[in-house]
C-alpha cells in the first residue's frame, strides 16, 4: 500500500457511503420500507390527534359549518408529517455530515501517521545506506593515514615534523567520521533490531556510565553525582541498548555543562515506573520540542563539531522500544537541560 502526501498537506479523500459511513446512519435512513411504514404510522397518529382536538373543540363534521374540516384535517395531517420528515431529514443529514467529518479527520490522522512512519523508515533506510557507503572510503582513508604516520615517523626528525602531525589529524578526523557513521547506523538499527530482554538494574547502568566518564568529567572540571532515592527496582530490557541510551544522555550533559558546572543523575520509583533524570547547568536546549527530531543539534557552540544530530533520536527510540517515555526540557531558573527517562519496572512482554 502506498500513501503519498503532497507538499500542500495530507491528501484527504471524502469517503463514499460504502466507506463505512453506512453503518453510522440512523435506522430510518437505511431501509425505505421501514421509512414508509414509519411515515404511515406518524400520519395516522397525527390524524388521530387532530380528530381528538376537533372532538374536544366540538367541531364535529356533522355540525353545520364544519363540512370543510375533512380537507382541513387531511391537509394538517400531511403538513405535520411533512414538517416532521423535513426536520428528521435535516437532523439525519447533519448527523451524516458529522459522521463524515469524523471519518475524514480519522482518515487524515491515519494518513499522517502512515506518512510519518514512512518518513521515519525512509530516513532509517537512508541512514543505513549512507553509513555503509561511507564506511568503505573511511576505511581506505584511515589505512593510508596510518601508512603516512609510519612513513613520517621513520623519515622526519621529531623537532620539525610536518607530515606526521598532518597524518595524525587525517586519521583523527577519519575516526571521528567513523563515529558519526556508527551513530547513523545506531539510529537506523534501533527500529528493526529485536530487543533482548534482560533484568536490568538501571541504577547500576547509570553508575557504570558515570564511572567510565570520571576522568572526562574531572578534566572538564564538571562535578557529577548519582543519587538513588531508595532501592531502585529492575527494569526489563536490552542492557546494552539501555546503557547506550543512558550514556548518550550523559555525554550530552557532560558536553553541555560549563567548566566548574554540575551534572546530576537521579533515580527514583514512581508508581510502576523507574524514573531516571539527568540535569546539567549548561545553557539548556535551544528548542526542547525539537530535541528528539533526527538531525537536531542544539546549535550551541559548546556541543562542538562532530555531532550527528541522531543522538537523542536514538535515545528516544531505545526508550520507546522498552515501552518507556522520555522528555526533555530546560530547568526553570538557572536554565540547564533536564532529560527524564521513564521505564516500566519489572518484566515487559
Amino acid at each position: 500500500v502506498s500513501h503519498s502526501i503532497p507538499a500542500s498537506g495530507p491528501a484527504w479523500t471524502i469517503p463514499l457511503a460504502s466507506d463505512g459511513v453506512e453503518e453510522q446512519r440512523p435506522w430510518y435512513r437505511r431501509d425505505w420500507i421501514t421509512m414508509v411504514a414509519g411515515l404511515a404510522l406518524i400520519a395516522t397518529a397525527n390524524y388521530l390527534v387532530f380528530e381528538i382536538v376537533l372532538h374536544v373543540l366540538g367541531w364535529h363534521p356533522t355540525n353545520p359549518g364544519t363540512h370543510l374540516t375533512y380537507e382541513a384535517r387531511l391537509l394538517s395531517g400531511i403538513s405535520a408529517t411533512a414538517a416532521w420528515v423535513a426536520w428528521r431529514a435535516h437532523a439525519s443529514e447533519r448527523e451524516l455530515m458529522d459522521a463524515l467529518a469524523r471519518e475524514r479527520a480519522r482518515e487524515a490522522a491515519r494518513s499522517l501517521e502512515v506518512w510519518r512512519t514512512e518518513q521515519a523508515e525512509g530516513l532509517a533506510a537512508f541512514a543505513r545506506v549512507l553509513a555503509h557507503e561511507l564506511r568503505g572510503p573511511l576505511h581506505g582513508l584511515t589505512l593510508h593515514a596510518i601508512v603516512l604516520q609510519r612513513a613520517a615517523q621513520r623519515l622526519e626528525a621529531p623537532g620539525d615534523a610536518v607530515v606526521r602531525p598532518a597524518a595524525d589529524v587525517i586519521e583523527g578526523e577519519a575516526r571521528r567520521m567513523g563515529a558519526l557513521v556508527d551513530d547513523y547506523l545506531a539510529y537506523a538499527k534501533t527500529a528493526d533490531v529485536a530487543l533482548v530482554r534482560d533484568v536490568v538494574a538501571l541504577d547500576v547502568v547509570a553508575s557504570e556510565a558515570v564511572e567510565a566518564r570520571r576522568v572526562a568529567f574531572a578534566s572538564r572540571g564538571v562535578t557529577v553525582t548519582v543519587e538513588a532515592a531508595s532501592p531502585v527496582p529492575p527494569v526489563s530490557g536490552d542492557r546494552a541498548r539501555l546503557a547506550d541510551a543512558v550514556e548518550r544522555v550523559l555525554e550530552h550533559a557532560l558536553a553541555a555543562a560549563p567548566p566548574g558546572g554540575h551534572v546530576d543523575v537521579s533515580l527514583e520509583t514512581e508508581g510502576g515506573q523507574v524514573v531516571l533524570v539527568v540535569t546539567d547547568d549548561g545553557p539548556g536546549f535551544a528548542d526542547p520540542k525539537a530535541v528528539f527530531r533526527p538531525f537536531f543539534t542544539s546549535g550551541a557552540s559548546w556541543l562542538g563539531p562532530g555531532r550527528s544530530g541522531f543522538g537523542f533520536a536514538v535515545v528516544r527510540d531505545i526508550v520507546r522500544a522498552h515501552r518507556g517515555e522520555i522528555a526533555a526540557r530546560n530547568v526553570e531558573g538557572h536554565g540547564g537541560a533536564r532529560v527524564e527517562i521513564r521505564l516500566p519496572r519489572g518484566v515487559v512482554r
Binding site: A131, E133, H139, L143, H144, K189
Partner: protein
C-alpha cells in the same frame, strides 16, 4: 616471512592494508579481484587471509570457504562495512576467525593476526 593475502574490491583499501602489513614485516599480496584471489589460494602457500565481504562476482564468504579448504590452519579475517548483515554471520560459520568493522582498527587486526599465526 609470513604471506598474507588481502582481498578487497576497493583498491585504496587493499593497497593501504598491504602497505601496513608490509611495514609490519609480512609478505602481503593484495587482490582487487576476488576471483584472482581464489586462484592464488589454490595455487600458492598462504599463511593468513584478510578479506572484504561485499564484492562483485565473488562474495567474501566464498573466499573464506576456499581459504578454509586450501589452508585449514591459516587465520582468516573479514573486514567489512556490513558487520550487522547476515553475511557476517555466514562468514563466521564458514570458518572466519573474526569479523572487523570498516574503518578498520588496524592495531586490533595486527594483534589478532600475530596471535593467529603463532597458533
Amino acid at each position: 616471512m609470513k604471506r598474507v593475502l588481502v582481498v578487497d574490491d576497493d583498491p585504496a583499501a587493499a593497497e593501504g592494508l598491504r602497505l601496513l602489513l608490509r611495514s609490519d614485516g609480512y609478505d602481503a599480496i593484495a587482490f582487487h579481484d576476488a576471483g584472482a584471489a581464489l586462484a592464488r589460494l589454490g595455487a600458492d602457500s598462504i599463511d593468513a587471509v584478510v578479506t572484504d565481504l561485499e564484492m562483485p562476482h565473488v562474495h567474501g564468504v566464498e573466499v573464506v570457504r576456499a581459504a578454509r579448504t586450501t589452508h585449514p590452519k591459516a587465520p582468516v579475517f573479514v573486514v567489512t562495512a556490513y558487520t550487522d548483515s547476515p553475511a557476517a554471520d555466514d562468514a563466521l560459520e564458514a570458518g572466519a576467525d573474526r569479523v572487523f568493522a570498516k574503518p578498520l582498527d588496524y592495531d586490533a587486526l595486527s594483534l589478532e593476526l600475530a596471535k593467529g599465526l603463532a597458533r
